[in-house]
């Protein structure tokens, strides 16, 4: 009886919140699903609504360009998140050591995170500039490159160059979370392990990594979702070029819905992206829960 009353109270208290969520994300979601099965146009949608069932989805999945955009996005997400985690953990380990200037370095870690993405993208565009960019100057002066070259204008390197810019901005997030997690690892565990003859490598794999795995997975999930939605850095740095080699799904959806004004098929593309993201999140959730139980 008491539990029943508690349940009712809980639901009553949650009602405003639920109404808010339904209004803010439920309605647009349902509208998007509706649009995805019509031939709606961005302007004057009432004039051009026509029910097309799953035609938009069939067209999306059979489009070689869209599949290619999915591949670019997956590549971007895997490489950039992978690099962010590796670099982030390494930097966290360093900043966890006691040395002079540690506080200053820890504070500086925030800087890239504090930069707006657009500013970061403009900055890296300048660094990569084919005529006077710092990267060209550095590599030529070090003798690693014979002549200045185009980085963002070459389909073989453009996406990797965007990834470097993204990693630079976002690895501090992983580093911060890892650093916070490292503070909670008891020192005596290391002392005991050292006494037992465990080397540095062994201590990392057996003590450090398991201890920070939980918070690290959260960072991993957040970064993967963000990386899969990547749009702004691409829009500023390459606008999908050269030869569409950096066109990601979000850019594709943007173009479809806003440049070509096909909201209907744009919605279907967007929902396919949402579905892929949802699968990724479900996979991570499963992993985290499994880890929590162990």
């Amino acid at each position: 009886m008491i539990t029943h009353r508690k349940t009712v109270t809980a639901w009553l208290l949650l009602t405003p919140m639920i109404v808010m969520i339904l209004g803010v994300s439920g309605y647009p979601l349902i509208k998007t699903i509706y649009f995805s099965m019509t031939g709606a146009k961005l302007v004057a949608p009432d004039l051009t609504d026509s029910w097309v069932w799953f035609h938009n989805y069939v067209r999306a999945l059979s489009s070689a360009n869209f599949r290619e955009a999915i591949w670019h996005t997956t590549y971007f997400a895997v490489i950039s998140v992978g690099a962010e985690v590796v670099i982030g953990v390494m930097v966290a380990l360093l900043l966890n050591e006691v040395f002079v200037g540690r506080t200053l370095l820890r504070a500086m870690l925030i800087l890239p995170l504090a930069l707006p993405t657009v500013v970061n993208a403009m900055m890296w565009r300048l660094i990569y500039n084919p005529d006077f960019g710092a990267l060209n100057a550095l590599l030529v002066q070090l003798g690693m490159l014979d002549a200045y070259r185009s980085w963002l204008g070459d389909p073989a390197t453009a996406l990797d160059m965007v990834i470097i810019a993204d990693v630079w901005k976002n690895f501090p997030l992983v580093a911060l979370i890892a650093l916070a997690a490292l503070q909670t690892v008891p020192r005596d565990l290391y002392e005991a392990a050292t006494l037992d003859g465990a080397g540095m490598w062994n201590r990392f794999w057996r003590i450090t990594l398991p201890a920070i795995m939980g918070p690290l997975s959260v960072a991993l999930v957040l970064r993967t979702i963000e990386a899969f939605k990547v749009f702004d850095i691409i829009y500023v740095m390459t606008r999908g070029g050269p030869a569409s080699s950096t066109k990601t799904v979000s850019f594709y959806v943007y173009q479809e819905a806003f440049a070509y004004m096909r909201v209907g098929s744009g919605a279907s593309y967007a929902l396919i992206v949402v579905l892929i993201s949802a699968c990724l999140i479900a996979g991570y959730m499963y992993l985290i829960r499994k880890h929590g139980e162990a």
Binding site: V43, S150, G153, P155, P242, F258, A259
Partner: protein, 413 residues
């Protein structure tokens, strides 16, 4: 936008209480581009003059890069954001189909129709109706570095594209500059403008009489083969494949190129010692022709000012457009963008100090080739941009790239 306005009126409100400021009755929101033609300073100065002459009307000027202009106009439609927008010659078909712009045919009298260049009208006209006033009459010109040509032993700039390549090769062989040619060939509309110029010189057509793609044959194919050829020969700066107009200006103005294809605004900027290291050495001629086909070539790169159909201040907006496009204002700011008025081209104030620019414009503006008029232009252009890039990066031959683009565009129709 809304919150900004609320904040603004709150701030102005405080001033009003203190009895200091005069609040404007109507505020116009105007959208321009920050790239080529009139500079931001020019636009702000013209607007200040307009406000001085029209008390009670305030104008918010917003400038965005060309690449963002189309999407901004379309997206602002649902929020009725703008009262005056600058738009490109390639959009009226699409805008007319979706009724995005006000039909102002009735507001333009016979006298005005006669006094403005014919080519400029094509910018705002679609299906017999006028969707605004032309403002920027512009095309691509061939710029050359006089010193470099002289050093290589050439007395006159090239008159055909073949000759351009020959001169460029000679300049490269003599070691005067590494890459004599520079273009805006990034994956953008700028590349289409360069391609259209060469296509028209070589007698090509975008669409045949039935409206089907025809750029993959004849002059259209030759134009792309020519572009790729100059890359293969090493006379075109390979970085052109990631350049837009301002990059072209920077490279040419720093003396790293002997020739450049760019909009008219570059003439006075490249001759301005504060902006350029080659000031005084810059020549301008119409883009070349092709032997036996054409004497000169040009692309219609004009832009117009229109009133979004959802604007609630159409009268004031039209007043502002009339002011900006008036002969007087255009003549005053003729250094970066030539006027749309026929009479301006014999006005000594306009001509003075920029005779070569005005002379080149007289020839070029008369031969401007249009890009295809189609509602789905944005998408067709994106397909073609990718094809050009594939050919220029060598991932596909010009013929294959254009054939594929033609097929995609024809499926789209």
């Amino acid at each position: 936008m809304k919150i900004k306005n609320v904040l603004k009126s709150a701030v102005f409100g405080i001033f009003a209480v203190s009895g200091a400021a005069h609040a404007a009755d109507v505020t116009l929101n105007a959208l321009f581009m920050a790239q080529a033609a009139y500079s931001e300073d020019d636009i702000r100065n013209m607007t200040a003059d307009f406000k001085a002459a029209n008390p009670g009307v305030d104008v918010n000027v917003e400038l965005v890069p060309y690449e963002a202009l189309h999407d901004k106009i379309v997206l602002s439609q649902s929020a009725n954001g703008y009262d005056v927008v600058l738009y490109d010659v390639i959009w009226p078909a699409e805008f007319a189909q979706y009724k995005l712009l006000e039909d102002v045919s009735d507001r333009i009298d016979e006298k005005t129709r006669e006094a403005v260049l014919k080519g400029a009208w094509t910018t705002v006209e679609y299906d017999g109706k006028y969707y605004g006033m032309p403002w920027i009459a512009d095309t691509k010109f061939l710029f050359y570095n006089k010193d470099m040509l002289k050093k290589a032993g050439f007395d006159t700039p090239p008159t055909t594209w073949e000759e351009l390549e020959t001169q460029a090769k000679a300049i490269k062989d003599k070691g005067i500059v590494d890459y004599p040619l520079v273009w805006s060939w990034s994956q953008s509309e700028a590349a289409i403008c360069d391609y259209t110029t060469i296509l028209s010189a070589m007698g090509g057509k975008f669409l045949d009489a039935d409206g089907k793609p025809a750029f993959n044959t004849g002059g259209g194919l030759k134009a792309l083969q020519y572009m790729v050829g100059t890359l293969d020969d090493g006379v075109t700066n390979p970085n052109s494949r990631e350049y837009a107009e301002e990059d072209v200006r920077r490279v040419f103005s720093s003396g790293q190129a002997a020739f450049a294809l760019n909009w008219g605004y570059m003439y006075n900027l490249a001759n301005d010692p504060a902006e350029s290291q080659v000031a005084g050495n810059v020549g301008i001629v119409p883009a070349p022709g092709a032997k036996g086909i054409s004497k000169a070539s040009a692309v219609n790169g004009s832009m117009g000012l229109g009133i979004p159909s959802k604007s609630t201040h159409k009268e004031e907006a039209w007043k502002y457009i009339q002011f900006l496009t008036s002969e007087k204002v255009q003549n005053k700011y003729a250094r970066l963008s030539l006027p749309i008025w026929k009479a301006s081209y014999s006005d000594p104030d306009v001509i003075k100090g920029q005779e070569p620019f005005v002379n080149a414009a007289k020839t070029s503006l008369a031969v401007m080739a249009p890009r295809p008029t189609m509602a789905a232009y944005q998408e067709a252009s994106a397909v073609l941009q990718e094809a050009l890039q594939n050919a220029m990066l060598g991932t596909s031959s010009p013929a294959d790239a254009l054939d594929e683009a033609a097929k995609t565009i024809s499926d789209m129709q």
